[in-house]
Amino acid sequence: MAYIGKQPTIGNFVKLDTITTSATATYNLTNGGVAFSPQSPNHCIVSLNGVIQSPTTSFTISGSTIVFASALTASDVIDFILVLGDVLNIGTPSDNTVSLAKLTATGTKDATTFLRGDNTFATAGATAGQVIQVVQATDSTARTTTSNTFVDASSTLTVNITPSSASNKILVILMLCGFGADTQNTNARATVFRGATDISPSNGFADNNIVSGGSYYVGAGNSVLDTPNTTSSITYQFKMQNSGGGNTARVNNGGFSSLTCLEIKG
C-alpha cells in the first residue's frame, strides 16, 4: 500500500505508559518509565473517556509531553496513547551487527561464495579453464652437455608449483634460445620432467637436427598441458641431451630461455 507523504524508514509502534489524570492539560509521556517524544500529534492515537481525540485540535505534542486542548479532571480517563510509527534514523550500524540474513542478495551464502555488485552471491575463485597462478624460471647461462640421456646440465629452468586442487592442470611452456648441437646431423633434444617423469608425448619438447645449412642453434619451444593429479608441491625441470651421443647439445648460445608453468582450473 502506498504512503501519503514521506514513507517511514522504520516503524516503531509503542503503547505508552498509563497516565493518571488530574486538573491539568499537560502530561508527561513515558514508555517503560522513560520519557518518550512522538514525532507529531498525527503519529498518535489518543483515547480519552472512550473517545478518540483529534490530533492537533484536541491535543498537541510538545517534546515528551501531551497537551490537551483543555484541562482534564481527576475523573477523566486516558484510555491509551498509541504511537503509530516513529520515523527513526538508524544512523551507522555498530560494528559486527549486520548479519548476512539482513541482506536481500540472492544466491547461496556460504564459505565458497562472495557478494557481487549485482546483489548476487556467486561462487568464489576461478572457473574451469581460468588461470590460478603462474610461476616462471629463466636461465641465460650457456649450458652444454654430451650426455646421451636427459640431464639438467645445471640449468636453472626449474619451477616449483603447488596446485590448489588435484583436478587442476598445469600448462608447461618451454621456450629455448640458441638451442642445438655443435655439429650437423646430430640431434639436440630438450624436454621437461615432472619429478622423474618426462612429460613430453614423444621426442621431448624440442628436437633440433640441422641436416645442412643455416645455424646449428635455433629458437625452439613447445607446451604440454600436464595433469599432475596432486595438491603437493611438484617440480618441473628442463633437461636436454645429445640423443646420438658423441657430440654436444647446447642451449642459451646467446640469449635466454624460460620455463613457465600456469595452473589451470580443472
Binding site: 647461462t141 652444454t144 652437455t145 646421451n148 640431464v151 640449468s155 655443435d182 658423441g246 654436444t248
Partner: protein, 98 residues
Amino acid sequence: MKIYICTAILAIKKDAQVSCSGEDINTLEWHDGNPTNITNQQILAKQSELQALEDVISKRIKEYGSIAEQIEFITENGLDAWQSKVQAIKNKYPKENN
C-alpha cells in the same frame, strides 16, 4: 669458430658424458663418472690445441676464397696454378704437426 670445452672433451674421449655451464671448466658435471680421469689441464690443453688448428683452417679458408672465386681462378690460370696457390697458402698458415 670457437672450440668449446665439451668439444675438447669429446676429442679426448669421444663417448664422454659430461655437462658444462657458461664455458667454465669448474662447472663440469660428469654423468659417466669420468672413468679415465680426464683432468681440467688436459681439457684446456686440448681446447687450445684444437682452437689453434681451427684458427689455421679458418685463415686458409678465407684466403682460398669462395667456390666461385676458386673456379674462376682455375678457369683463368689452370689447375697447376691453383695447386701452387693452395700450397703457398698452406705454407703461410702451417699446422703445428703438418
